[in-house]
């Protein structure tokens, strides 16, 4: 097997949480607000269904091919040629998506904090760190997640806690003015975020306690749901209808913080802590890319690929999108892309694998 490390289900749940939430709390409130208005805090609850579907799909497929990732078992399910195409597609898919994630982060940082720093430096620094951690292996990556997880949690609690005096409870009314539909419409974007839980397919084969994967996976989904819903709720309580007019409501919220005229404008600190979450997300995606490529080409080791693919990742993030405007315009497409790649494709694979199994049984019987 390519990956020699072993991690526990608990650690898997732990790394998946910042993987989803880090960019989630940045953009999701705004894009959800466009559709759901004041009911936007309900949307993540609907959207979390995608998380559960993704986890169930990954685990169901893993049950049939316990020691393989999607890249490997797609070859067994679809045959050599088509399977390889799908495998390489998935690796490129994650490379591309990772490029977009990285660009989201870079646009945010360069647009708000480091106005004159070339975007290449911001992207390159992050890509380098992620490539380094992937090169060190899954175990190390998970360990960094364990160290940083409390910090990511702290970030949210800090922002929320410091904002408490500014919240306006009345802002939440009217509740479900147009029925349930807007909140479901608003769930479309978070849905794609939750579908990223399918990434556990790259971790499942290396778990030491696979029977607990479902438990910790679900807990992770629930926790992401609670946190996303909470950020949306607080955005509504703070800004009311205006939420969708901000690009980054949570960061704008942080600007409002003023305690005793001493703790003010903590958005730079929130950004700094949030960058840690992004680091974990990009590393997880990069790990999927690197492992995907290594398994597609049946290499002995995936580690040497990490740095070169990191370079490609920088390219991807610089080429794929030209500006923040384009990014927000393309977001529906990206979400669709994510859902197709992480829900639809595995679903097809699962159905085909069942058909295959039945046929084999018939032919043997």
């Amino acid at each position: 097997m390519l990956e020699k490390g072993k991690i526990s289900s608990f650690e898997m749940g732990l790394i998946m949480h910042p993987t989803i939430i880090s960019t989630g709390i940045l953009i999701v409130p705004s894009v959800t607000g466009k559709f759901a208005g004041k009911d936007m805090w309900l949307s993540p609850i609907w959207a979390s269904i995608a998380g559960f579907i993704a986890i169930l799909l990954a685990i169901a497929l893993n049950k049939q091919y316990p020691k393989q990732t999607i890249v490997e078992y797609s070859e067994e399910i679809l045959g050599c040629v088509l399977g390889k195409v799908v495998g390489i597609f998935i690796a490129i898919f994650y490379l591309h998506m990772n490029g977009i994630v990285l660009r989201e982060y870079a646009e945010f940082v360069s647009g708000n904090f480091l106005l004159e720093t070339p975007i290449f430096v911001i992207v390159g620094g992050m890509a380098f760190l992620c490539a380094m951690v992937v090169r060190a292996g899954l175990e190390v990556m998970v360990r960094t997640a364990v160290v940083f997880f409390p910090i990511v949690l702290l970030l949210l609690l800090l922002t929320v806690g410091l904002l408490l005096p500014d919240l306006e409870a009345k802002n939440i009314m009217p509740f479900m003015k147009d029925g349930i539909v807007p909140s479901i419409k608003g769930a479309y974007h978070p849905f794609s975020w939750f579908s990223e839980f399918f990434l556990i397919t790259f971790i499942l084969p290396f778990l030491s306690d696979r029977d607990k994967a479902l438990k910790w996976g679900s807990i992770s989904v629930l926790l992401v749901m609670v946190m996303m819903s909470m950020t949306n709720l607080f955005s509504v309580l703070l800004f009311g209808d205006m939420t969708s007019s901000f690009i980054y409501p949570v960061m704008s919220a942080a600007e409002y913080v003023s305690i005793a005229e001493f703790i003010e404008h903590i958005e730079s600190m929130v950004m700094a802590l949030w960058v840690i979450g992004v680091f974990l997300k990009v590393s997880m995606f990069h790990y999927a890319t690197v492992l995907g490529f290594a398994q597609s080409f049946q290499l002995q080791d995936y580690r040497p690929l990490s740095l070169p693919l990191g370079l490609l990742l920088v390219g991807c993030s610089v080429w794929s999108i030209s500006s923040l405007q384009e990014l927000t315009d393309l977001l529906p497409v990206i979400s669709f892309h994510l859902i197709m790649g992480q829900i639809f494709l595995p679903l097809v694979l699962l159905i085909l694998s069942f058909i295959r199994k039945k046929r084999r049984k018939k032919s043997s019987a």
């Binding site: 190390v140 998970v142 160290v147 700094a272 840690i276 680091f279």
Partner: protein
């Protein structure tokens, strides 16, 4: 070994020249033996050759090194009984020695190389005519420093003993604290010329077999011509060579070593070095000191938190200062910003340069203060306090807030109890300042992420460096995040004490017995 440093490695492996031995056996004729040994010890004025006759008949030769042997005891208990004995009475040499020499440690030696090593280690050697054997008599005695309190690890409450350079004294201190035959002390020898004694210590039944074997293997494979201090040995056996962080704990305190032995760790004592090596260790071992465990647990916990806080201050304060004043002025409260800005108005340097300038100066001051002869030490403190502080600010070269930041950082780095980690943090501070000066808080976070990745990567003899935090063992965090009371510390650390999990019975908190 990472690729950039490959060139540092020897291309071809040298043949193990350094371990060659003179395995020639001793001859029957004492003249021949004397000649050979004389030629080996030519131009060594301190090696004494003394011929005498056992009982006035049989020729014998005594060899010892002056200054390493207790001469008066040698005269009383060996030379005079032997000279007075009659050789005819005891035809067998061993017999003679057994019955006449009243010294505790006596050993038979057969080859020249063994003869040399016995003489070198301070024993006196007796050769007797007609036998191809020599007798080594342990009458070693030399001057050593008396036991004093360790200078590097000071405690307010706790034992005051510290290790010294003489290995026998050190092992005796350990034996006195661990009165069990399960305390094993294996001896090894390193160095072609120094023949330094290295002792591997562990407690049988607690330390894991594979750990003991691994440490022993690593030490035994070392092939050098000299080993001066345990610091050298540490570099030979550590896991990650290209890391600023120490992976072996060195301590001068016997109580610390005892506690570590009881947690299943392995120690290495090097003759001539008062620092005993303890392995495997985690990052947190360097932030805990003996006194945490002797003080009341609440105090111990609070002091630990203080130490953790100042660890971060020591690493990050200058870089955060630079980041805030270069990139994120809006985060600073207005009043503070105004006062700092007015103080900085006159300084010609950007914050980054100012910080680097001051930090480097401070490090230089500290180094100078450490190495100076005591008589001129006062000069440094005067120069440091006046020139770097007051005068520099008044001349407008640096701003006073910067001086405060540097001073705070300096104090913070002194709160890190173990010197090797304190140095690592000092070193890492400089790249952090650079990152802060170029990328602001983002750069600081980049630096932190890089350090955490590195810390997660390294292992010390198989134990992950950040355990029990990462990989997480929730149960053990009670001895890391806080200092839990003794009666809850029932288990040994999992990664070293797995073999013998419990160190005490449960429910050890003693309260008055409940009556009926």
């Amino acid at each position: 070994m990472p690729k950039p440093f490959k060139f540092l490695q020897q291309k071809k492996s040298l043949p193990p020249l350094l371990k060659e031995k003179d395995e020639r056996p001793l001859s029957h004729s004492i003249e021949e033996n004397e000649q050979t040994l004389q030629s080996i010890y030519a131009h060594c004025y301190d090696v004494v050759f003394r011929s005498f006759y056992i009982g006035g008949e049989r020729k014998a030769l005594l060899i010892y090194i002056e200054g390493l042997v207790d001469v008066s005891e040698m005269d009383d208990n060996m030379l005079s009984p032997l000279m007075e004995a009659s050789a005819l009475e005891f035809p067998e040499v061993v017999d003679l020695i057994e019955k006449k020499v009243s010294v505790g440690s006596v050993q038979e030696v057969n080859t020249f190389s063994d003869c040399i090593s016995e003489v070198s280690s301070g024993n006196s050697l007796v050769l007797i005519d007609g036998t191809p054997k020599a007798i080594s008599v342990g009458l070693t005695k030399w001057k050593s420093r008396s036991i004093t309190e360790s200078d590097a690890e000071v405690v307010v409450r706790g034992p005051r003993e510290g290790f010294i350079e003489a290995i026998q004294v050190n092992t005796s201190m350990l034996r006195r604290r661990l009165r069990t035959p399960k305390l094993k002390l294996k001896t090894m020898e390193i160095g072609k010329y120094t023949k330094t004694q290295v002792i591997l210590g562990y407690i049988e039944g607690i330390a894991q077999e594979n750990l003991i074997k691994e440490v022993e293997n690593r030490v035994q494979r070392i092939d050098v011509d000299g080993l001066i201090d345990s610091g050298e040995l540490e570099e030979f056996i550590q896991d990650a060579n290209y890391s600023p962080f120490p992976q072996v704990l060195s301590t001068e305190r016997p109580d610390v070593v005892t506690a570590n032995l009881l947690e299943g760790r392995v120690i290495l004592i090097v003759d001539g070095s008062p620092f005993v090596l303890v392995m495997p260790v985690t990052f947190f071992s360097f932030l805990q000191i003996a006194e945490d465990y002797y003080a009341r647990f609440m105090i111990g916990t609070l002091i630990r938190w203080l130490r953790y806080t100042f660890l971060f201050i020591s690493l990050l304060l200058p870089s955060i200062y630079v980041a805030l004043f270069t990139f994120h002025q809006e985060m600073i409260p207005t009043d503070l910003l105004i006062s700092v800005a007015s103080a900085r108005e006159q300084t010609p340097f950007p914050a980054l340069v100012e910080a680097l300038l001051m930090e480097v100066t401070f490090e230089a001051l500290r180094e100078a203060g450490l190495r100076l002869p005591k008589q001129v030490g006062a000069a440094v403190s005067i120069v440091g306090a006046l020139v770097i502080g007051e005068a520099a600010v008044q001349a407008g070269i640096v701003s006073s807030p910067m001086v405060i930041v540097v001073a705070l950082t300096g104090i913070a780095s002194f709160t890190i109890p173990r010197y090797p980690v304190s140095i690592s943090i000092r070193v890492l501070r400089f790249p952090m300042i650079f990152l802060a000066g170029t990328l602001g808080l983002l750069g600081v976070i980049f630096g932190i992420i890089a350090i955490v990745i590195h810390l997660c990567t390294i292992r010390s003899f198989g134990v992950p460096y950040l355990s029990p935090l990462a990989p997480l063992h929730g149960d053990e965090l009670k001895d890391v995040l806080i200092r839990a009371p003794w009666w809850t510390l029932n288990k040994r650390p999992r990664l070293t004490g797995e073999r013998n999990t419990f160190r005490q019975s449960l429910h050890q908190q003693q309260s008055p017995e409940k009556r009926g």
